[in-house]
Amino acid sequence: MNSKMSDRRGFLKGSAALAGLAVGSIPFANGKALASVTPALINGGNGAAPLPTNLGVTPDEPTIQDLLYGGRSKYETSVRSHSVNGPTGTRNLTPLQDTIGVITPSSFHFLVLRDQHLPNINPREHTLMIYGMVDRPTVFTMEEIKRLPSVSRVHWLECTGNSGMMHYRAYLQNLKAGRKDDMTLIQAMHGRTSCSEWTGVPLSLLLKEVGVQKGASWLVSEGNDLSRHAKSMPLAKAMDDVFVAYGQNGEALRREQGYPLRMLVPGSQGVNNVKYLKSIKLVDKPYYIQSEISGYTNPKPNGQASWYETQQGPKSLITFPSDPHKLPGPGLYEISGIAWCGRGKIARVEVSTDNGRTWKDANLQQPVMTKAWTRFRLGWNWDGTETVIMSRCTDESGAVQPTMMELARFWGDQVEPHIPASEIEHWWANSSIAQEFLNPQILPWRVKPDGSIHDALYNTLLPNPYFPV
């Protein structure tokens, strides 16, 4: 232990010396100030040297914030956009058009707040209670949870209503009302998904610690936000790959992502990933909580609704080029996008640049991870004529992302008497209540001769009597 510590001190001294050297070699306008801040930074700000206040005098000189936590170039301005049907000022949707690779920066990660309250929880006071049908109802502190064996995994989250027709309706209403702001279509329609590396403790481990009793088959997790969001989950899923997460992208969870602790339910609807997690109750049936009945069920045309459909199917989306982009002219471009699914890995992504007539296999970014975004890329020589581009993916079980018409046909066959696809597509696309579920349909973009990119799916369903804009 002692030798380790002295090693560390030696390392720190060495780093300080190196940093000093580096500082000496860079012609800063105020070299003295930077030299004085370096030891203080290495000592975590607690060293003898006071933090300087005279940094950032000239434009290229780093401010103390640049050095303590950093920031992006002032030329990068992409931000989350406000929900199209939420109040102005609430910004919560991921700018997919600007995402690169498969990790969404925490500052871009979409968020959903049940009300306008953003909890600010002290981790020293936060506890997780596991109770109900267990042998040993237990309260864990955050410190205790962090002592347990942890895992880090990359997983996407997606809001249940992402890509739903209701958002297009709201988007058009916003345009009509002159409320475009810097809202883009891809962000407004599909920005309710993000992908992070999450770190935490497997729920199966915690459940073994408390001893699940015979007969328990579901659990209800509850958050410590003011609306106390709660959600039921099958025990089998909980024992499979669910974990309670305290880390996101190499640091603690962001406040808007449930700091200090959240549920992470890979491959399922976002609503299951309860934030500010404070309790888990083991029970013998789903609990029919408001948030799993009102908003996350699917009424079918026969009046029957299905519920507890939580697993996402194969879904993909071209993020470049997409709605806000404008191609400067004919030539070579790299089509890029994301694919994800709720079961296993993405096995294949195909791209069509001729409105679905021919398809080419895209390159998949490696490694392809389970229940994580998979970035796909394909070179494309645009000849400058109008066309429609789209992607479709296949998961490792062989399931292929369906077209909207295939989905509609399936829904029509689900009910007695069968409903023709033409009718059910109309119903499905326009119902005010049927959109609150995962929308996995193929999402095409129209490329206009002037290089601008437009939606090529939702506007084809207009106009109709059920869709007043």
Partner: protein
């Protein structure tokens, strides 16, 4: 027969189970040992912390606390604390500001509209259990920034008022932990009978019904 360990899907025929008894006894031992805590962190939860009505309430109402209220009592409460968002008679119409903008402010009416393109989800037209309303009001209402100040009596009264406005109970009916469970919601049978996850597919996983629409990959 079926192994009772919840995470085990092995099926053994009844006739052969006799021969497997010694093996099963061993397995049971192993299971019991595996259920002992390994890391021994955390402290026992206290009764007060597990106070059932402070947490989620399920459809069998086990956690419902003592207390009662009627629509008559609920009317004044509703007017004072709920009508701002939900309308004087629960008819809704006010956009409730949430970050995702959905408003479920309408509580009354819409019965029989769920199978139409302009369907209206309300307590009366959609909710299958009255306990769901009790649970939601108790935990989430009134929303931030208003103060959460409802007693169990208040919640029973508010639920009674909403059920009365939906024509489900009478104005004088008293709601308590027993009578609430007897309320027959109009849409009680409006859902598929079983959550799909209770019947996992042949690979052991539950599938959303629509995923079956995805066609197999072309060879």
């Amino acid at each position: 027969m079926r192994c009772t360990t919840p995470y085990c899907r092995i099926r053994i025929s009844r006739s052969k189970s006799y021969f497997l008894l010694p093996v099963m006894a061993l397995l049971a031992c192993g299971t019991a040992m595996a259920q002992l805590p390994t890391y021994k962190v955390g402290r026992p939860a206290t009764e007060a912390e597990m106070r059932p009505w402070d947490a989620v309430v399920g459809s069998d109402g086990k956690e419902l606390p003592p207390g009662s209220g009627s629509a008559k009592e609920g009317a004044a409460l509703f007017a004072a604390q709920c009508s701002f968002c939900h309308g004087k008679d629960g008819q809704g119409g006010v956009i409730v500001p949430t970050s995702f903008g959905f408003t479920y402010s309408r509580l009354v009416g819409g019965v029989g509209t769920i199978n139409s393109p302009t369907g209206i989800k309300t307590v009366g037209s959609y909710m299958p259990y009255a306990t769901t309303i009790w649970d939601f009001i108790n935990r989430a209402m009134p929303p931030f920034p208003l103060e959460k100040n409802l007693t169990p009596d208040n919640v029973y009264a508010a639920v009674a008022f909403i059920l009365y406005k939906n024509g489900i109970i009478k104005e004088t009916d008293v709601m308590d932990k027993n009578s609430l469970l007897e309320v027959q919601m109009p849409n009680r049978h409006g859902f598929y009978p079983d959550p799909p996850q209770e019947k996992p597919g042949k690979d052991g996983y539950w599938l959303p019904r629509w995923e079956l629409a995805a066609k197999p990959a072309a060879k």
